[in-house]
Subunit: 69 residues, 6 copies
């Protein structure tokens, strides 16, 4: 499905932590780079997200900051 | 400077494209993964962003979506 | 493609306006409700977005505000 | 109150689920379209949000992605 | 109009810069603190934003990062 | 560390409230202006955020809405 989001990074779910309505999902996209997503627990359940799943982290370009030393 | 943002990914600026108030910055974070950021042109100028700069893409966890096939 | 975003609303592109790096896309999701998206011009070009296209507006739950009179 | 946000969609609250600091609010904006918002529990309490409330889902154009089959 | 956004900061417009579809608005919220917003040019025109206007900068809590030295 | 985010506002932490995965942090940036951030609990713990800490609220320009009466 073509998506306008400029950033789609493949990875593997390393951890899912559920709160009551929010969850965090840690996605290893390259060693040693892990991307953390905070999404609804409902999304975690609907996608059945669990350790080992192959997923993509999807990020809109407007959400990315740039830092430079 | 410690930052609450969960995602800070090192990379090298591959391209900067300036509009009148907005700009896009392409950051190669691993071969062949490039992250695109849309930021203000003012920020591009203030940081002096140009091809070859070592930077970090910084992304808050709440901004990351997860897609699963 | 299952996506964690809670909000995916079908509609038809009514207008695309391109700046130099940013574009706005107006999507009629129901009469008379139109959703406006600001995305990169690169995404408009890559998806070939034009009037009449059937698309979805995709919105992460964390990005929605609620207003009540 | 005029607001720069391009997207203000009227609807009725169908469900509110509270976590400890975050809450999700489901807003039926048209049958069968429901928009889910994740907001602070503090906002839910301050607005007194509950099932049946007439509200608006407010979304900034920069937060909308576009998907096209 | 009650709004779920936790952050509404009063200020005065100090500058508006228009691109083709995006604009930046600088809002002085306290001396010497200025908040910059990037919004659609359409919103600038619809609100008639210009230097000297009394406005509020509205920011959802999920969009705020925290940095600590 | 130079950062593309246009808005960095100094303040003092007045309250931290932790959920299971999300937390809210209240930052007094000027009397009587308080900015609320919702971040991951992991970030709160990693930064050791607590009442009295001097911090900055960091906000990307694309995340700011403008309201005008």
């Amino acid at each position: 499905m073509p998506l306008s989001a400029r950033n789609r990074i493949e990875g593997v779910v390393k951890a899912v932590e559920n709160g009551e309505v929010a969850s965090t999902v840690k996605i290893e996209v390259a060693k040693p780079v892990t991307i953390t997503a905070m999404i609804t627990k409902e999304a975690v359940e609907e996608l059945g997200l669990k350790e080992g799943d192959k997923v993509e982290a999807v990020i809109k370009a407007t959400e990315v900051l740039v830092s430079k030393d």
